[in-house]
Every structure is written in structure tokens, then in C-alpha cells.
Amino acid sequence: MKKTLEKYIDISKKILNFKNVRYAEIRIEEYTSTTIGIIGKEVEDAKTSENLGGSCRILSDYGWGFVSFNNLDNLEEYYKKTFEQSKLVKREKINICYINPIQAHMIMIPDDNPFSYSLTDKFEVCKKYNDLIIANKNIQSSSVRYRDLLKKTIFLNTEGSEIYSDSVFCGISLTAIARDGANVQTGYSTIGDYNGFSQNILNREKYCEEIKERALRLLKAEPVKPGKYTVIIDPILCGVFTHEAFGHLSEADFIYENPQLQKIMKIGRRFGSEELNIIDDPTIPNLAGTYQYDSEGVAAKKVYLIKNGILTGRLHSRETAKKMNEELTGHSRAINYSYEPIVRMSNTYMDKGKYSPEEIITATDYGIYAKGALGGMTNTEMFTFSSEEAYEIKNGKITKPLRDVILTGNVFETLKNIDMFGNDLQLHGGLGGCGKAGQSPLPVSDGGPHIRIKDVIIGGK
């Protein structure tokens, strides 16, 4: 970091002393990124690129101003512009949490750094996987995507904090698409975090085979009949549910100025059975959503959102924590310099229970076993998720495969309807991420165990 961005440190410090503001921060970030995309027989993308930019955020008495830019030579001018703008906002006084200055240099660079590999090395690996996937006449198309990101950042604020970071992320996604007439089925696998090239990228032939077989298997599956079912979902789908359906409601910026939502999301309220625990933890090493300090320079903390079925916490920024008089958690994140920090999740999961996945299935007379997630969406209380593959359960046994299983429901009812928790917690990151307020994709991971939910609506085609 020091070499390239160093020249902006002194000027930033000088600028932050200019005006009498209540709080101000300057972020400067530099990225180098390689992306590779092979789709079917075509190379769509194989490039390395460079990105440099910064932003200023200032709180004056009544409001925030935010300016982002690529031209760092005008840093001082932009800071003044931010200051003028922050002065224009007139409403009741905004208070935020202040903390003691932090001096830190965070490093998340794997020993097996993807940047010690050439573009040729990366390309050859992707090509090999793609060749493996399409080597079957019933596989109509494939997709292999690789991305790495070398990120160097400077964070300085009026509290006197100086936080530098260097990190290297890498990941890959593999897709197999099988087709029989209008019936198109997808097998998908992705990984992405700070664990380095050999762990994340090399030796994934097994996954290529798996997704290929799954897509082919799904071609023969029967379409599901729409209706209400008892559903068992696997750790991946449980993670998507936990993140999408519940996690977003724990983001305090949704709640802090909404008295009605505050009533619904009241600390101490029961949301599910004693075994229900939901946690957000940015401090688990090397996962996609891992960090030490958030984009406001606040130390990241593990937060119990639900403990033993009771709402116990939520995710905060400096502003929401102050307003709600709750503890700072360090969950204000920006995807990059061109956005202001907003309250986000990190690594979010539902904790494990006591049953083995087999016990859950055996205990189910009739229902659907849904695995993997192809997508998910929510609007505060409603969610829809499409599972990657599914099976009918009859008399405690997994029977015929089903396809096109899309789950929908109300999150509060669904949480209450979880009646069995598995003992097999897993967390997954990936190449994608979370989207909120135009900031996408933010690297996050999510997970959970196998769980059983009653009365889930399944929409088919």
C-alpha cells in the first residue's frame, strides 16, 4: 500500500484539519483486478484492469455530504464541495457515536497469492474446467468465471484514525446448463474469499463433474406442483434464507427512523423456537464477508441477532447506533470508494441444532427437500428463492427429483415455522455478493444447517 497511495496521506491529513466539522472521513482506494469469463466455447473476457479513486464524507450540524471522484489531484476542492453540501442539509441535529482513534494496518493476503500467477496460468485453469463441463453432448452451455481483486485502501478521519489495508480476494464460479427442448436446467457452484489461489481455484475438477451431473439429472426431474409443503432446506439455501429474509431486517438503517418497524423488530421479541439462533460475524478468518474495521473505521464485532428465539441485537453504523442507543457493531460498509458506507451484513448464519440431516428427513412423512440456491429476492417481509435442485420426501425417504422449485413466504411466519435444526452448519462465500441501495456486489458469506420448515408456499411454472 505505502508506495502508491502514500503521497495522498499527508494532504488528506492536512485537509481533515481545515474546517470545524463534527465528523469527516477520507477514503482512498486502489484496485487491480483480473476477470476471466468463458461461456460455452467463447472467451468473453480475460482482462486485468486498474482503478483508483477516493471519496469524502462530512457531517456538519444537520446532515451528511458525500462526494466521490477519480481525479485525486483535486482532493482539496472535492473536500470543500462536500463541506458546503453538508451545510445545506437542515433537519434535526444528527448525532453519531465517536470512538478513540485507531492506528491499524490490516492485511488479508493469502500465502498463495493469485497475483503471483500469470494471466496465462489463470486462463488455463478456467479453460480446463470449461472443457470438462462441456465435454458431454447433453450439456448445452457452460460458464466459468474467475475474479481476483487486489485492494489497497487508506482511511483517515477527524478522530485521528489511520487505517490502511491490503487484501487479495479470489474466487471462481462454475455453471453447467443442460437442455432438452424447452427444459433448461442449471448446475452451479461458486467459491470466493481470502483463502488464496490453490485452495479456491485449483483442483476443482470434482465440482465440474458434480454440477454437470446435477444439471443432467434435473432434466429428468418432474416439475413441482405448486402448493403448500413441509420443506427441508440444505445449508446453502438456509444461508440464503437467513441472509435475505431475516438479515436485511436486522440492518438498523431500515429501522432506526421507522417507529412501526421498531415495534416489529423490538429487542426481546420472540421470533422462533428456543433453538433458533442467528448470528452475524465479520471476524471469522478469511471468509468472503470478513473484515477487521468497517468503512467508517469502527472495529467489527460478532453480533447475535437472534438468541434462543429472541431478538437480541442488530447491525449498526455510527449514526444508527447512536440514534437507537445501542452498541456499535462495525457493520457500515461501502462496496468501494464511490459509495458512502451503509449498514450491511458480513458473514451471516443460522446456528446449528441437534439433529443430523438424516434424522430430519426420516422424521418427515411428506414434503420437499430443496438444495442450493439459484437466486433470491425480498421486499422487507416477503421473500422468494429458487432452489437449484429438489426432491420429494415420502414416508421419511428421499424419492423422485423435482425441478423449478421456487419458495416464497413471509419471513416472520417462516421463522416460527422452523421446527427442526440440523447439526451440520456450513458457511459459503462466492463470486457474487449482496446488493443494497445500488451497491452490489458486496462480498458476504452466509450459511446454516439443514432445517425443516412447515407450510412453505412453492410456486412452480
Binding site: 467463447e42 472467451v43 473476457d45 480475460a46 482482462k47 486485468t48 484492469s49 486498474e50 482503478n51 483508483l52 446532515g63 451528511w64 455530504g65 458525500f66 462526494v67 466521490s68 471522484f69 477519480n70 481525479n71 483535486n74 453540501q85 453538508s86 445545506l88 442539509v89 433537519r91 434535526e92 494471466l119 452451455s141 424447452a182 433448461v184 405448486p226 402448493g227 403448500k228 427512523e257 421507522n258 412501526q260 418497524l261 416489529i264 464511490s338 458512502e340 439459484l374 437466486g375 429476492m377 421486499n379 422487507t380 417481509e381 416477503m382 421473500f383 422468494t384 428463492f385 429458487s386 423449478d404 421456487i406 416464497t408 413466504g409 413471509n410 408456499i457 410456486g459 412452480g460 411454472k461
Partner: protein, 442 residues
């Protein structure tokens, strides 16, 4: 802010280093004022600039981009390295030519000079009004202005530069009640400054929409007539738009591959790609590869007429570019639509509703894109939809999913097409009523 990229210097280097190239520079400035939770929240500005390089070397294509003027040399090297793995491709980039500018209006200087401060008062008035008529409402608003310029240069000494501008407004009202959360939103965007009266109309409509959605209507799973209005009809068009995209066609996965000049839907349905509408968001004189744009039918009286192409997808399929290339600095061009225009029908929208004995108007949905969109399948949760009984809206639906296939809908199930044309971002469309759509309710 001044352009710090030495574009003529970069061109010179590229002329020496590779067989062909095109270079796209964009400088964009966005300023916005936002209100959240019923209060003025923030002024936010973004000033970005950068450069994308597409080069052709040893018969292969390579690409890189940067926002850092100090890394130009490296970026050129990255692009050249990229060409080692790039597709074998040889395009006929446009020649140096004189292009008549200003034939289509796309830039309104009033936007650049607009003082966003005036919206503090205006926004507060809107919030007051919405709060008054909608109990327990949480309002978010944003007013934004954008302006900028772009330059396209290629190895044939072709050069085209243009200015653009945009004004946009968005509003969202969230009402949290015991029985559920209701979210109603709308927005407006144009390359010309928008008259404030139009914003007031949107706000009044939100109040009207709330009145209609206040009650929850009980429904049973069944087949019903369903109206898709300007908010939701785009969901159905997506399948057609993907299938008619030259890139999908070139990949051999378009369900319309063998359907050119054949009837694919009901003869009452016509859809155009029209880049020549003054101040429309998708308008352009030339596309992102420098090819002149023109209006073309996509579906005409039910007959499929045109794929859209950029230079690459045209070359690989033995066609000509239709002037539909789009690009940002960070990626190579791809085919994309300009403004989608759908012909209106003969049914007044009010009558369309009045004629329904029992059915649904779909407005907002969640979960689009999770089924096989290219094949025409859709399956979405209706997050805002109004239930019609005996020709009248009686309330909103809850826990309701609709599903179907758009080729089936547009072939066999069109009941009527509205007389009115509605604008939704770069799309101009009537509302359409379909018969017998599957609705799954709790």
C-alpha cells in the same frame, strides 16, 4: 473536471502496437439530493472518468480499462496481454466520417446548471403531502442530475464526441402495518429537465394507489384475467428482448433463431427499437462503436422482424450491425436496445379494468429472473397487485404468485391492449390484459 487522459497520445501508441483498436473515454458527473424516512438525508456527488481500450492484435481481441491516468502504459500492456487469450475476431470498425450532430435532442444544458437546493423545499412539501394522506408512511425521495461527455476514437481515425444529460426523480413510500408491509414506488427520468407538474402527478398517483391497496383482498388459487401495467409489463418483455439480442442469437441459444419473418405472437402486438426520440433515455445518433442508429421493428403485427446487433455479433452471424452497440468504460461493447416502443391498442385502460369480473392488476413483483427467462417462463411473487371484483378494485393481494410462459401469453391469451401509452424509463408501452393466468395464493 478536466480530462487528464492524453487521448491523442494513447491513440498514437495504439496505432503502433496493434492492428486495430477503439477507445472509449467517458466522464460522468452525478449530483443528487435524497430524502429518507421523511427527512432530507444527504447531498451526494460522484465525478468519475475513465477509459476502456479494445484492441485487435494477431487477429485476436483484447481489452482493459482504467480510471487512473498514471497507469495508461500498464493498461495498454494489459490489453495486449488480454489479446493472447481473446477471441479470434476481425471487425470492420467505422471509417472517419462527418456525422451530423444535434439531429436528435439528447442534451439539455438546463440540467447542468440546475441548482438542486431548490428541491429541499419541494421535497419537504411532497413528504408532507404523502404523510398527510397516507398514515404511518415512510417516504424516500431522490432528485438527481447527471451530465457528461464521451469520446469514441478508433484506428480508422474515426472520432465522435458527445454530451449527455439526465434528470431523474424517484419516490418510495413504505407503510408498516401489523398485517404486513406495503411498499409503493415510482420514478421518472429524462434527458431533458422534467417539469415539476409531472412529479406532482406521480405523487398524487401514489396516494391513489395507496387508497386502492389499503385493504387486503382474499383470493383463491385459480386461473384469472391479469392486467400487466407499465410497472410490470417489462417483466414479460424481458424474454423477447433476450431472445432478440444478437449476442444470444450468435450463441445459438435464442428460441427465435429460426423464426425471422415468422409469426411468433398475436397480430395485435408490435414492438420497435427507436433510438430517435428526443430526450428519451436510450436515444443516440451513433452507437458505442460509431455506427449510425435507426428505428427498426422487432415484432411487427405479431411477426418477428429483427435481431439487434453490434459489430461482433453481426460479423459472427453474417449480418450487419444494427447500430445497437452499448458500452461502459469497463467492458467491451454488447448489443443493447435503445428505446422500446410498443404499439397501443383500442381498449381504454379504465374499461379494461371495468370488464373484469374477477382478476388481478400486477404492479410490483419480486423474484423475476429466477425461472427460465429465455424460454419465456416467469414465476414471481406479486408484491403489489390489486384485486378486481365486478369491474372494481377492492384491495391488494397478499402471498400471491403468478406464473406462465410469455410465448403462450402473447400468442393465445391477449385479451386487450390499452389505448394509452405509458412511459417507463426507456420504454413506451400500453398496459395489456391477458386471460387465464395461473395465480397461486396462500
Amino acid at each position: 473536471m478536466a480530462n487528464k487522459f492524453n487521448i491523442s497520445g494513447i491513440s498514437k501508441t495504439l496505432h503502433q502496437e496493434c492492428e486495430q483498436f477503439d477507445l472509449y473515454y467517458a466522464n460522468s458527473n452525478n449530483e443528487s439530493i435524497s430524502f429518507e424516512n421523511n427527512k432530507l438525508f444527504m447531498f451526494e456527488n460522484n465525478y468519475s472518468s475513465g477509459l476502456g481500450l479494445r484492441i485487435f492484435k494477431n487477429g485476436r481481441v483484447g481489452f482493459s480499462f482504467t480510471t487512473n491516468p498514471e497507469k495508461i502504459k500498464q493498461t495498454i500492456n494489459y490489453a495486449i496481454a488480454s489479446a493472447n487469450f481473446g477471441e479470434k475476431l476481425n471487425l470492420e470498425l467505422p471509417m472517419k466520417q462527418k456525422i451530423k450532430k444535434n439531429t436528435i435532442k439528447m442534451y439539455d444544458e438546463k440540467i447542468e446548471n440546475l441548482d438542486l437546493k431548490q428541491f429541499i423545499e419541494f421535497g419537504n412539501r411532497i413528504i408532507k403531502k404523502l404523510n398527510k394522506y397516507i398514515p404511518n408512511s415512510m417516504v424516500s425521495l431522490s432528485f438527481g442530475k447527471s451530465w457528461g461527455d464521451s469520446i469514441l476514437i478508433n484506428s480508422n481515425n474515426y472520432k465522435f464526441s458527445e454530451k449527455c444529460s439526465m434528470f431523474d426523480f424517484s419516490v418510495s413510500v413504505v407503510i408498516t402495518e401489523k398485517k404486513g408491509i406495503l411498499d409503493i414506488y415510482d420514478g421518472l427520468a429524462s434527458c431533458a429537465l422534467i417539469n415539476l407538474d409531472k412529479i406532482n402527478v406521480i405523487v398524487d398517483n401514489i396516494i391513489r394507489r395507496y387508497e386502492q391497496a389499503k385493504k387486503i383482498a382474499a383470493i383463491k388459487s385459480e386461473k384469472y384475467p391479469v392486467i400487466f401495467n407499465k410497472f410490470s409489463i417489462g417483466l414479460l418483455y424481458t424474454s423477447f428482448l433476450q431472445a432478440m439480442n444478437g449476442k444470444i442469437y450468435q450463441k445459438g441459444i435464442s428460441p427465435l433463431s429460426d423464426k425471422l419473418n415468422k409469426k411468433i405472437v398475436d397480430a395485435r402486438f408490435s414492438m420497435y427499437d427507436d433510438p430517435h426520440i428526443d430526450y428519451a433515455l436510450g436515444s443516440a445518433i451513433v452507437d458505442a462503436e460509431g455506427i449510425q442508429t435507426y428505428k427498426k421493428p422487432l415484432i411487427e403485427d405479431g411477426v418477428f422482424r429483427n435481431f439487434i446487433f453490434d459489430l461482433r455479433s453481426a460479423k459472427l452471424t453474417g449480418n450487419k450491425s444494427t447500430g445497437n452497440a452499448e458500452r461502459s468504460i469497463s467492458a467491451m461493447p454488447t448489443p443493447s436496445y435503445s428505446n422500446i416502443v410498443v404499439n397501443t391498442g383500442d381498449k381504454p385502460y379504465n374499461e379494461m379494468i371495468a370488464e373484469i369480473d374477477e382478476g388481478l392488476i400486477v404492479e410490483h413483483t419480486i423474484g423475476a429472473g429466477q425461472s427460465n427467462v429465455l424460454a419465456g417462463d416467469f414465476s414471481v411473487n406479486v408484491s403489489l397487485g390489486y384485486w378486481i371484483k365486478k369491474g372494481k378494485i377492492v384491495g391488494r393481494v397478499k402471498d400471491c404468485m403468478i406464473a406462465g410462459n410469455v410465448y403462450d401469453l402473447f400468442n393465445n391469451k391477449i385479451n386487450s391492449i390499452s389505448k394509452e401509452l405509458f412511459i417507463k424509463s426507456s420504454m413506451r408501452t400500453p398496459a395489456i390484459c391477458f386471460n387465464d393466468i395461473n395465480i397461486a395464493a396462500k
